[in-house]
Point group: D2
């Protein structure tokens, strides 16, 4: 039985890890870390765990935690994981960090976009970017996994095969996305009150959302060159779900013709045909967040627009599962040599 510690267990992502691990046959949470609720019963913060989990919340002591568990999930604000990690810890436990601390290889880009100093740049190189479908083999060997962002996972997986196969021009890529409100976290802010979010939709972080460089870096690897994109997130009045609608110009063939529907589909199948958690939708069907809720699936569809020589790619996932806790568990499975889908094999919940 893998012993799991969660730092930041009382945020939405942390609690979702706890929920998923509860049904995982080979892992159990033994440390519910939460600096805000030390000594309070976890189930008094999350009533869904009432009568199921009796443990109280503990402080975020990574050194002590490293002795007590096999893997630590850090579901915390940027900067915390980097401030706690060290050789001693890494020699004892695996770390799966849900913050951005180790996602971006260029520390100056991290510091520019996140406006904080990186406290442990020496581990950036070692950290593996935990996008399972793309970095699976490296993840298996990792001590420190940088779990991708929610928008990022959706945005990258939706475009990756076409970038990799050079079917689209990555410099023309525009990602327009929307997210359910759980992505904004559980902090008590006026802007996230029910009456402010309900019956409204709004863009935010326009041209400067922090997931932008993460998408650019990863799709840049796929493209084999640096790319710069537009990414615009929107807040939608729903609890869970990310929907990314992405636009790019198709790369014409030497004869001037566009890639065909079959060629596009072949590219997606080349990378995702055997991927349990990526579902390639049939022609004419597009992703809807309702079909992936509470699951680890990413649904992907597209439409070639011959009028504009562009393709519209669309992806949907649950921001708390494949966009956070589910992918973190998938990474844990890889790191510990388990079946990658263990504990994640549920049908999305609807309605």
């Amino acid at each position: 039985m893998i012993k799991v510690g969660i730092i930041g267990s009382t945020g939405y992502a942390g609690a979702e890890i706890a929920r998923l691990i509860y049904n995982h046959p080979q892992a159990e949470v033994v440390w519910y870390g939460s600096r805000s609720y030390i000594d309070e019963r976890f189930s008094s913060i999350y009533g869904n765990f009432f009568d199921i989990v009796d443990e109280k919340c503990l402080d975020d002591n990574m050194d002590e935690l490293a002795k007590a568990v096999d893997v630590i999930f850090t579901a915390t604000p940027q900067g915390l994981c980097a401030s706690l990690v060290n050789d001693d810890v890494l020699n004892k436990v695996k770390i799966i960090d849900l913050s951005a601390d180790f996602r971006i290889k260029d520390v100056s880009i991290y510091e520019e976009w996140y406006k904080i100093e990186h406290k442990a740049p020496q581990y950036i190189e070692e950290a593996v970017y935990g996008l399972c479908e793309i970095n699976r083999e490296d993840i298996r060997k990792a001590r420190l996994v940088a779990n991708p962002g929610c928008y990022t996972t959706c945005s990258i997986l939706t475009a990756y095969p076409l970038v990799k196969e050079k079917l689209i021009d990555p410099h023309t890529l525009i990602v327009d996305a929307l997210s359910g409100t759980s992505g904004a976290g559980r902090g008590a802010k006026t802007a996230n009150l029910f009456c402010e979010v309900n019956e409204s939709a709004k863009p935010y972080g326009v041209a400067n959302h922090r997931h932008t460089p993460e998408i650019e870096e990863q799709l840049g690897y796929a493209a084999g060159e640096e790319i710069t994109i537009n990414f615009t997130p929107h807040l939608a009045p729903m609890n869970r779900g990310i929907l990314a609608t992405e636009y790019a110009s198709l790369v014409k063939k030497p004869d001037g013709s566009l890639p065909t529907e079959d060629e596009i589909r072949s590219a997606y199948e080349k990378y995702y045909k055997d991927e349990k958690f990526v579902r390639i939708l049939p022609e004419g069907t597009y992703p809807e967040t309702r079909w992936v809720e509470c699951s680890n699936y990413v649904d992907i569809g597209w439409k070639i627009d011959k009028r504009t020589d562009r393709i519209i790619m669309m992806g949907a996932l649950d921001n708390l599962v494949k966009g956070a806790a589910g992918q973190a568990v998938q990474n844990m499975n890889l790191v510990f040599g388990l079946d990658e889908t263990m504990g994640l094999d549920m049908v999305p919940a609807f309605p």
Copy 2:
């Protein structure tokens, strides 16, 4: 492996059975019945099953189905199950009926409230009312289980111990409840459109909702006498969840004093202490539907009001799980001698 057939698999309750059975270690759906979608792929109706279930929908042929499966769930409108069931079928398979056909022992009451003729009254006596926490032993031996209604399950379980222990006067019982909109089914009706339900709340079926006699009959058994109650359902703008708020006068002791908080709690614990799926909340905590979503739990709390000598009892459950599909699976587990919680042991999903 228990072979499962679902008649009415494309309603919300039917699809929820399919979802739960998919994660059940000892059962599998082999017949997705749906008269409306014959020969259409089940996953084209419920996109959450895409890439997970490949089967097409089949007609509602109960005779053929009886040969093919071990248990049939009928998640269909009132009258259908009664019109299909016969000795031959009951000798071959177990039937768990999610409609009201076999819930009410007095056929005249059924016919009065449902305004249809009962087609198989000869099986009413045999049928076991599938409220697992109360009729567990009879269910184990049943061929035909009448799965309780959603409001009913919540209303009965919330008041049952106090009625049974004669701590409240059942003739004063008033049940005021609200339900998420999935309880209204998937039929295309104007009244259930998003814009009609969203931002609104409304009572319906006032003083004549069909779950009334079901509650009265079952709580009447507990009381040892016939009772007549008020039951008022309301529609709320959410997908899942039932919340019942129930009022009754406390029965005074010979010395004129009211039952104490401890006596009330003892009564609840007497009946539910060992019940996995009933959670008795601590004093001062009341049920909220968010804490039971996508789970088989019923949360129960109460408040003694010394100003009015009444008690307010409150219960919450997920209408599609404990209120329908989950309880149906729980009944299946009992009927087949399995661990009653098999396939149902998940933490409620939040947010």
Copy 3:
């Protein structure tokens, strides 16, 4: 032109007063009071006023305000109005207080339920309870109007005629109500975040909500005796709206028969036939909050239940309009001798 000052203009009720006054032909807001946002532009807090209102928020200086305006609305937490009011102020301006400070005539009951000391008990007797349909004539002459609570307005108006006409036994009255989330205010609390409220319903303040004594006092006047009731509020996932479902035993006539449908209707018509803002629904039609949104209407319906000798009375209103700001404007109209419906004559917004 009546000059209006609002103390607490940046709460939901305060901003709704500003919205209604903007369309009032004989009044204008000249003082946007908000201790939290002094010197900030009102429209930077409420973006709906952008390009419409340029004023900045001012401090809550009642003495200065008394010189500058004709009427002050206090849309503030309990205790503030009582702490600011004095003879000098009352001689200069009319005050319409949306808090509970002057609603309850018995100061000990106020202090018991609100847990604060009353700072100006000498004005309680003078203050007029601003339920326009019932106290119209007194309001016209008032200097200080105690604007009723949102639940209270709905609960009282729904039962008033039947209590007054002694058609129901007021001692059996149970009020079960639900409210949209704007009733919880704009404070940044975790419990009111979108993800906590959405997809959930919950009771709160069970047997101790502060609107209870207010309902009891007013319906007690109607009954001609003291009454004690049960009142249970619930939070529902919608922005606006209150729905009250009320239960009471019908008073039998000397011959043992129940009041008839016609007698009930006559009682409602006796009090509300000429009331612009009370709509008596036809038999078989019940109130829904969607039909009163953004309006000053209260919709009322009922159902006699001959099985239990009870009547179920139902009322719906918009908590921010008839439940707060709209009724406050209606009171202002009365106080200043204007047409009572001025500025309030709009069709409810749907969908």
Copy 4:
């Protein structure tokens, strides 16, 4: 008093016209047309009008209607208005058509995108495209006004000044938009049920939505050349509101520099400074649908992205008001020589 007839008064847009006209000081509805509800009381279909409007619904007889009223609003499916209009009618009444029948000047484009034969192409040339801020003078003289689509109004107004001033390259324009569900109409379709829309977001009509050619035609006029764009609508779980996020490459100056923030703002102000219903947001503020609900305002903001040399333009409006009924009333005001804002001068409703 202008006499108004509405054909299609029981759709969401038709009922919104009725609601707005009710508060219009110089117009009144005298004909509630609704083929589906002939002889039923309008207020039995729209309960918000209970006790306010007593009229029954009438058939769609345009010839008779032309004698009875001064202006006809057709809030009907495509094709109906074109099939009813004729010289006799146009000589008697003004027609404001909310369908697409007379929006597109090239009848072959209309027939290609809408898949129906145009029944009255002889009036297309005469019809004036009713985007008030752009075609004001022509509208004043029109007999037949083609009221713009909801997505269209938002998409065009958001980009218009920058296209007109050649600050962006219109051939790079991508419009990504989302709409509340009232845009889908009141027809009873499974896809629009509460449980299907709630907690979900989805794209639809990808690369073939019918508002595309309308946007292209109008912005083409502004650009002085034919343009082809991408337009992707999404359905969001809210009643009202359209949010358009638009991307285009900025046109560099001869010296290679981009337009400045000031130049962009000047362009918007050139066209909208005196426009009552267009609100140009301050730098760093972006439109949110909550701030325009139930009003005729369009809020517009933008962000220059120097990393990609693109500009992101954003617009928000209420699809039933500025996107349909409000603009229709604005057109009526122009046609009849009234103050353009008459009956439309309300503060947006929030929350």
